[in-house]
Amino acid sequence: MRIRFVAAVAVVSLSAAGVAVAALPKNKALAIMHARHEGMEKIGDTNKLLNREFRSGTPFAPAVKSGAATIASLAKQSSGWFPAGTGPEMGKTGAKPEIWQHQKDFAAKLVIFQRAAVAFNAAAASGDMAAAKARYADLGGTCKSCHDSYRSEMHH
């Protein structure tokens, strides 16, 4: 009886592990999480630079253009940053489990962010710094609204 129970548990856990492995090998999951972390960090650092440009009152257009292009490119990549199996159960991450519990909402928010990044990049490329500043503010709003629900604090 006891042996049968243990065996049953073993079979169930093995098959569960098998499913997880089939979905995303651990090394691949960790590689995606690493890329995600680096990408988000780069977006954050670029955001800090842009913030200083706009708050100086006289933004340096080439710096704004380059920052906007960096964020637009990373935003595009972000579509591949959140496959199932890359949450806190896999390793240290600022991504909340809610991302995979509310996948539709999260995906919608990610698209809104990507669109805002494209719009900001276009405004920056046009050289119109006033327009760029407005699109930059929109972009910041999309970061915030997503982070409010889906980003946890992560101490290094």
Binding site: D45, R55, H147, D148, R151
Partner: protein, 229 residues
Amino acid sequence: MPRQLSFGDAPLRHRQRVWDLPVRLVHWLLAGLIVFSWWSVHNHHTDWHIWSGIAILTLLIFRLLWGFVGSSTARWTGFIRGPRGVVDYLRGRWYGIGHTPLGALSVIAMFLALAVQVGLGLISEDEDGIFTGPLSALVSIDLSDKARDLHEFWFETVILPLVALHLIAIVVYQIRGRNLTRPMLTGDAAMESRAPPMRPGKWWVALICLAVALGIARWVVAGAPGLPH
């Protein structure tokens, strides 16, 4: 004439004013804002947290000024005493009203600790660069990030212990028969009659201090225009 009360052999005590309204308001607003600051930053309300810090900045500036031109018990020169004053107080040789020489040390420590905390907060930015202190653009990204970590560290290692010490002192005084909370609420305390009375400050001077404090806070919120970026 204040009403005189006598309890058997106890020294003559009468109710008299020890804390003016500005001192009490600053005290309770600070207490509330410190709690609110802690709560808001831990509940995804970083924007409220920043405004709470601005409010604390305003109160600190006001209190600094009121410490020069306010009521006698509010003035820095009225309660800051050297080590000898503290020793005299501990030996029971102090008969003033307002902050005791020992309590004054606590006031100074709290004021300075909060000033440092607000200063660090003003130049901080969050990890993502979404929320920025009004003066964060005046410093480098690196310094701003360091200030954020230090801001958190300072709260845990300095502000929190000072608040704990403050609360413990209130309990200790209560056990020894002295209620410190009621005077901070009503402004009045039963004092021995040999204590010199409080000289109250002027209400319009308080208003000027408030106007100056609000003006400086507004300038800070605007990113301190005029200072080099």
